[in-house]
Amino acid sequence: MSPEELPEILPDEKPDAALVARIAAAVAGGARPVRPAPAAGRMVVALLSALAATSAAGGAALGFFGVELLGRGAVALIFPALAGFALLAAVASVNAMRPGSRRLFRPAILMAAGCAALAAVFFLIFRDYTLGRFVPQGLVCLRAGLVWSAPTGLAVWLLLRRGYAVDRAAAGLAAGTFAGLGGLAVLELHCANFRVWHIVSWHLAVVPLSALAGWAAAYFFGSKRRAAELMQ
């Protein structure tokens, strides 16, 4: 047997004609015009614009103390790295909301690899390994980062709500990662604490925590929908 013979070997069973007619009648009855979702490229640009806008708003609200004290070299390394990570997360978020899209990477792997890359950039730039007031200052940054992730998360939801996630957990994780990058960008613009462990621990933690929140939200709403289906 060769693989080419498989279609011939398998019995050519067809669905019941009455069933197909019933499905077709039900679908035709509800066939109203729909506006196709925008092209993936446009959605990615919209997401990145939303992230830039919320980051700028966050920086303006809290003060651009961090970016003012950073050297040009550090700025030239940190923000392009953040932008690259955000671009990949935006692509992953858009693809997760479109059935049959190319999946270039799994959202969980993207989140882990992106955080590791950013950590490497931070280790390369900053040299102060002292801890200082590690926990109190860290909690302030973590809270601010998570708070400023929320507007980006809201923008993601607004832009992608017309999508259709076949894998809700992956879609939630990708969207949460993207939202977390909004919070991280605000912290890099605002925070003037350049201790390595502070940045690598508390700033970067915003991304996985936000991703986790996105995943949990997707799981929760998915469970509610499944429960509703079970009750039918």
């Binding site: 047997m1 693989p3 080419e4 498989l6 279609p7 070997i9 398998l10 019995p11 050519d12 069973e13 067809k14 669905p15 019941d16 069933l19 197909v20 499905i23 077709a24 009648a25 679908v27 035709a28 009855g29 509800g30 066939a31 109203r32 015009p33 729909v34 506006r35 196709p36 979702a37 092209a39 909301m97 479109r98 059935p99 049959g100 899209s101 190319r102 999946r103 017309r162 999508g163 259709y164 076949v166 894998d167 499944r226 289906e229 079970l230």
Partner: protein, 174 residues
């Protein structure tokens, strides 16, 4: 086996609210979807349910397909998740029934109604390999289309298909 561009045209008209186009699309694509479900671990009755559920999801998500993109990966991405969701739901129902009625012999996926050798061999394959093989050889999709439908890479699809062919050949020759 490959759908002609006409299928994509029908989908565009369906998005525009043309009921006749949706009917034509369902009539054209239902046989291959049905075969896809039937060749997996479900009976005829469950294949009917999955077919209905798939078209319901297609209807809900029809705006997410864009003209110019291949239709089959989009359709099969929905279909395979219908199957996965159905499997999970069946397991939950089965668990509840077990708790209440203590009927361990009652299975959510009933015994198959027909077991030709090839189907039995297909059932022996790991789910991911069987799915790839059916999409490639029964639904006539390309490797790239299968990769899109399953959310994996083309390399992974090739590898799964190769392993599935090897196993089928071995079983068939033994």
């Amino acid at each position: 086996m490959q759908p002609s561009p006409e299928v994509e045209e029908l989908m565009v008209r369906y998005q525009q609210g043309d009921g006749a186009a949706s009917t034509a699309l369902i009539e054209r694509l239902s046989p291959q979807l049905y075969r896809f479900f039937l060749a997996q671990v479900v009976s005829r009755r469950y294949a009917d349910d999955l077919l209905q559920e798939t078209w319901l999801r297609v209807h809900q998500a029809r705006h997410t397909w864009r003209a110019g993109e291949p239709l089959l990966p989009w359709l099969y991405a929905l279909a395979r998740h219908v199957r996965v969701d159905h499997y999970r739901k069946a397991r939950r129902v089965e668990d509840r029934e077990r708790q209440v009625e203590e009927l361990p012999e009652k299975s959510a996926v009933p015994a198959p109604e027909r077991w030709p050798d090839v189907e039995r061999m297909l059932r022996e394959l790991p789910e991911s390999q069987r799915e790839v093989l059916l999409m490639l050889k029964v639904s006539g999709m390309s490797i790239e289309e299968v990769a899109r439908a399953t959310g994996s890479s083309a390399g992974s699809v090739k590898q799964k298909a190769h392993r599935a062919y090897e196993k089928l050949r071995r079983w068939y020759e033994s």
